[in-house]
């Protein structure tokens, strides 16, 4: 069966930023004397996008909700970021406190990055034993 090479790209469409799927089509698409090597995808198939996402927003009305896709031990770091931002608010400005909580948030970010990279795998060390 002949292979059709397909590609994706992101660009600003007339209705905002979108993802485009095209397929190779040598010398079939022409416009104003120019020939393009790519044409719009010609079949209906599923697209899977693997990537980094943000968790779903919480709504003020649902107080028992939580950020379910972020491990709960990092939720306090998110709250610290908000406390830090609050200390930059003219109603309650305090640069020193803002920096303290910003530091707490950065610590959380560092730990979360390490956790995200680990993919739930921790490495061990083999220690030699004398018998």
């Amino acid at each position: 069966m002949a292979k059709t090479q397909r590609f994706y790209f992101i660009d600003t469409h007339s209705t905002g930023e979108k993802i485009a799927i095209v397929e190779e089509a040598k010398n079939t698409i022409t416009q104003d004397g120019y020939t393009d090597e790519y044409k719009t995808v010609s079949s209906a198939k599923g697209i899977k996008i693997r990537g980094v996402f943000t968790d779903t927003d919480l709504a003020a009305g649902t107080l028992d909700g939580s950020y379910s896709n972020i491990p709960s031990r990092f939720h306090s770091a998110i709250a610290m970021h908000v406390i830090s931002m609050g200390y930059l608010d003219p109603r309650n400005m305090n640069m020193e406190n803002s920096q303290i909580f910003s530091g707490g948030y950065q610590d959380g970010v560092k730990k979360a990055k390490r956790f995200a990279r680990s993919n739930y795998v921790s490495t061990g060390r083999v220690v030699p034993q004398d018998f």
Partner: protein, 88 residues
């Protein structure tokens, strides 16, 4: 940690802040956190192509694409754009 607990934590420092304002800031902080740490990775399957339709809405919340599959076959990113524009 539930939303209620996070709001209480913030209000201990900023009692003048309302619930709606705190939730808005928490959501913003959460977006920053997810973008910086890349802690939430998943595979979105919400798009199905339609014949002769080139453009599709980007899934909500997506901040970085790692791989794209068409009919379960990985497809590369096109370097540059096609020279003939197609808005369909």
């Amino acid at each position: 940690m539930e939303l209620k607990e996070m709001i209480e934590l913030v209000q201990q420092h900023h009692p003048h802040m309302g619930e709606t304002e705190i939730v808005k800031l928490l959501n913003r902080a959460k977006d920053d956190f997810c973008e910086e740490t890349e802690i939430y990775k998943k595979t979105d399957t919400s798009i199905t192509t339609t014949a002769d339709l080139r453009w599709y809405a980007i899934p909500s919340g997506l901040t970085k694409i790692e791989e794209v599959y068409f009919n379960d076959v990985r497809i590369p990113r096109l370097q540059g754009n096609p020279i003939i524009n197609d808005e369909t």
